[in-house]
Symmetry: D2
Subunit: 113 residues, 4 copies
């Protein structure tokens, strides 16, 4: 998101001549696969075991989060989407979809609120 990170991501890709593979569809696939790798850390685990896993595998989990972020930032960059603006814009919509008085203390989807 910061210019420095984005520019490292671009350099890393371009030194390896990988832009040719990084079309939006494969980038979205990659994000989905990395999200599954993060989730796998918590599979079959109780809340207590999840907390223990986070203590035991802190760096691995941090790496999975970073993997998702790297692909996500590059995809936004490739599509000329300003991620900060996109987040601000989406959070305004979320605020309208989940008004505090209706959504407070509820995890229902907006369509089921």
């Amino acid at each position: 998101m910061t210019d420095k990170i984005l520019s490292s991501i671009r350099d890393f890709r371009d030194e390896r001549d990988w832009a040719q593979f990084h079309n939006p569809k494969d980038m979205a696939i990659a994000i989905s696969i990395e999200a599954s790798e993060l989730l796998e850390h918590f599979l079959w685990k109780t809340p207590e075991e999840v907390e223990q896993r986070i203590r035991d595998k802190r760096e691995d989990i941090s790496d999975e989060i970073a993997d998702i972020a790297v692909y996500l930032f590059e995809l936004a960059d490739n599509l000329d989407i300003d991620l900060t603006a996109a987040i601000e814009n989406k959070m305004k919509k979320n605020a309208a979809k989940y008004p505090v008085d209706k959504a407070k203390g509820s995890h229902a989807k907006y369509s089921e609120l």
Copy 2:
């Protein structure tokens, strides 16, 4: 990632009393689900159709990217992971796993390089 965005994300959650639901396992599930929603835009589509989709549904796609980012930033924050540091750390590892001379022009996984 910027403090301002993080602080909006925390405020949004806390106004709705949602921290109780935002345990790491469900956050990882949410990231995975949002990643699938992004990917669905490109399902069954050729590269040309993907480009057309991006033109036609630019804001929807931007929203999906933002949804992933919001959950990812909050999860990192909840785990006391500095996302910028996590990315820099992971990119150093990636540079070692994918040395330029071996990885250039190849999309093979490091274990198959």
Copy 3:
């Protein structure tokens, strides 16, 4: 898996002239997206809420399971994979990866047993 189901799946696809879209990569994407839709029913929910959800949305959940199965059966069929044989073969490997004396009562991945 039964011939009758497989033949309905093929007929459904061919009446719509959809084989042209059903390449293995997009089929795998479709399976992943449908799996996320199933999972979304359980997002943010406690075990008790999951049980309630299953009572409340039994047919929706059954439909999501069917969606995954339909794409999975067609993909196996397209790849000339006999799903019953594939399952038997994989279960033998699983039995070797997860020997009863080591795996009993543990949800650890084989690489961490």
Copy 4:
């Protein structure tokens, strides 16, 4: 789906005392993770490379398909869902959502047809 396969799946689980972990939420997570592992075989690949991958890694891909099927069959069984009936039921709905005259030769989602 056949009784023999289902009964092997149940025996495998019960010999390892795994029913305690196999709640519907974790089963759905497992299906999603396995679906991603299948998809990873095709990441960054052109249609020709996908075909080559299938030739090169036929057994690995068959194993991933089997992994999804095993969890899916067990989940349906745990929920007392008859998978064959679920598929037949869903395919009737799909036939209504995707009438031949509208859907023929189109990969648009029913909501965009």
